[in-house]
Homo-oligomer: 273 residues x 3
Amino acid sequence: MATLRVENPIVTLITDFGLTDEYVGVLKGVILSCNANIRLVDICHLVPPQDRTTATHLLTRSYSFFPCGSVHLVVVDPGVGTDRPILALQADGHFFVGPDNGIFTPILKNAHSLAVYRVTASELFLARMSSTFHGRDIMAPVAAQLANGLPIDRVGPRIAPEDCRLEGPHPCSEIGGVLQGEITHIDRFGNLCTNIYREDVQRFAHGKAIVVQMVEDDQLIIDSVCASYAEQTYKKIVALFDSHGYLEIAENMGSAAKRLKSAIGSTVSVLLK
Amino acid sequence: MATLRVENPIVTLITDFGLTDEYVGVLKGVILSCNANIRLVDICHLVPPQDRTTATHLLTRSYSFFPCGSVHLVVVDPGVGTDRPILALQADGHFFVGPDNGIFTPILKNAHSLAVYRVTASELFLARMSSTFHGRDIMAPVAAQLANGLPIDRVGPRIAPEDCRLEGPHPCSEIGGVLQGEITHIDRFGNLCTNIYREDVQRFAHGKAIVVQMVEDDQLIIDSVCASYAEQTYKKIVALFDSHGYLEIAENMGSAAKRLKSAIGSTVSVLLK
Amino acid sequence: MATLRVENPIVTLITDFGLTDEYVGVLKGVILSCNANIRLVDICHLVPPQDRTTATHLLTRSYSFFPCGSVHLVVVDPGVGTDRPILALQADGHFFVGPDNGIFTPILKNAHSLAVYRVTASELFLARMSSTFHGRDIMAPVAAQLANGLPIDRVGPRIAPEDCRLEGPHPCSEIGGVLQGEITHIDRFGNLCTNIYREDVQRFAHGKAIVVQMVEDDQLIIDSVCASYAEQTYKKIVALFDSHGYLEIAENMGSAAKRLKSAIGSTVSVLLK
């Protein structure tokens, strides 16, 4: 099959396979068997089992830092063995491979350029297929071939983005003079990540001063948004825009997650001062 | 020393070094100092300390997915500093390096083509040897040189496979009309892996219907073998053949390990219906 | 900018980013976007949050096993967003990049050849800077360019090593006829690592026999230093010189950390027998 030769192909990996089994290693073996020159980069293998929301969070906050042409393989696949489709996307210069279960929602909704394909070309798959490990048998070989330069229209028929499963956290929204979002992820440092984007806040505040309210922490008020963790007093709870531009609740030199009751899904509100 | 030039040499790693110390990084530094072009692939570093059974499980279920010529380095070495030998194997087109403590048993028993060497060529070792880290001082440099194309007979004398230490789980066996095996591994999803191979079941059942009995769970009966996790009712305990062809006990969208009492070593029986 | 072409550039990584977020993957994406041919080697990402002592321990025990010219990136940066400087070091043929917060103390003190630079050349940084992730925005691109062959004097002004922050564990010292050190790290196997170096002991003992005393374990006496874990009786507490030449307290086939009360910071004494 005719392929373009890619000089330093990259495949990134997000899975819920953990680090105690051989599954991640096997994926990599399949990919390197296709082309031993591929660079493999682990984004995360500790996605909680079958947790598509976390997979989406990690993917959308990482892929754009890789060179154009990179292939991003996401194997969080509770539907393995059913007839849920497998997708290959070309979006804004990157490739994505994974099951059609909502994990690609933000890319399907927000990409500037987008082409979506259903993966059906079985000649690309491993010869001996299982019904429990399509990551190994289908997705890894397809990702490797895309990294190799296989034109994406060879993986199967093009489909409309609307025909894919769309899910994921709601964007934040303004309700009764309050900009309301939620905690979408808690990182290793105990920082609470939200879905409230810097531009949402700017549009809401029109240059006026704001406060952040943690609804489930007895309406705790954080009375300004600071520029860095270290700008504030030691052990103070602060709000700031994280390195992706989203509002984050943190504790300077500590863990906000340990201090506060708020958890994933808890409401975070932005109010005018 | 004359070596063939290998274009994209691969070394895979299985250790019990964990992820909180510098040990894995040091192994990789030694290997890349020998040839910075080697591709390093982590299979697992969270093998429980000195647990040779898990190391063997992970090795035998991963190596064959890598390209021929790959070198598989296994450092689970409770006998470090004693005179237990270090082995280098060439088996079915792959290379293996590790201590002679039973970890290579299935390869020594089942390989179609096999040559076994005792590693003694000290000119291959790190110049400054320790008595506590032979993974770094002996095994890593030997693995790197094999990956580089060093002919394996340069590492030391060839020995008979029978002279190596053989261990590991018994294969499953038929006793009194019952095919009896055991749980050999529990994966991240709580799936219970067994040593009962698909062909053992086919030979036992002769096409008749079977049930699976979990002896230590009050003789729990699983009344059929299904094709995939998702085929069954939500949260139902199922038996299926895993992606390597071994019988596995799982819970659809849950953890069988949390639901059941059975653990590593527990008996799993297959009976005619 | 003129750079030498490096054939197989290596960047090693030590961070406190953990393995559950996208942060490590993002660092790697930034580095590979600079040069997709760079070999990335994880030393450790499970440094406890903001724990500079552990970062230093891991760095000083790993970097010298990599080829000369390797770049060692250390992102443990509690001061992110403040004006603490970022350093680039060339020391004994290796490069180092990280914040000026004491993590490089042993290299600054002990390197045979050393040049230290303050990283200020903002044209090397990511175009869109954050105030919370200088690892991504400044340190990763600078590390990548040094790996690429950028002359180190292009990163900013050269400064005196004395102008850097120096910290870290005290070296062991002789007090009243006792050589006194401390536990600096506990590894995955429960081995207690100390700052007592083999040559310190040799200088102290002048060839006489010694014993090791664990002060916080009711003055427990370990009556000799053995050569390997396995040399001693099963489950016996032993003292030995580890693979880096430092005195270590271990349990043969067990965990000294579980058996003993001594912890990081506890005193370990060497006495003449």
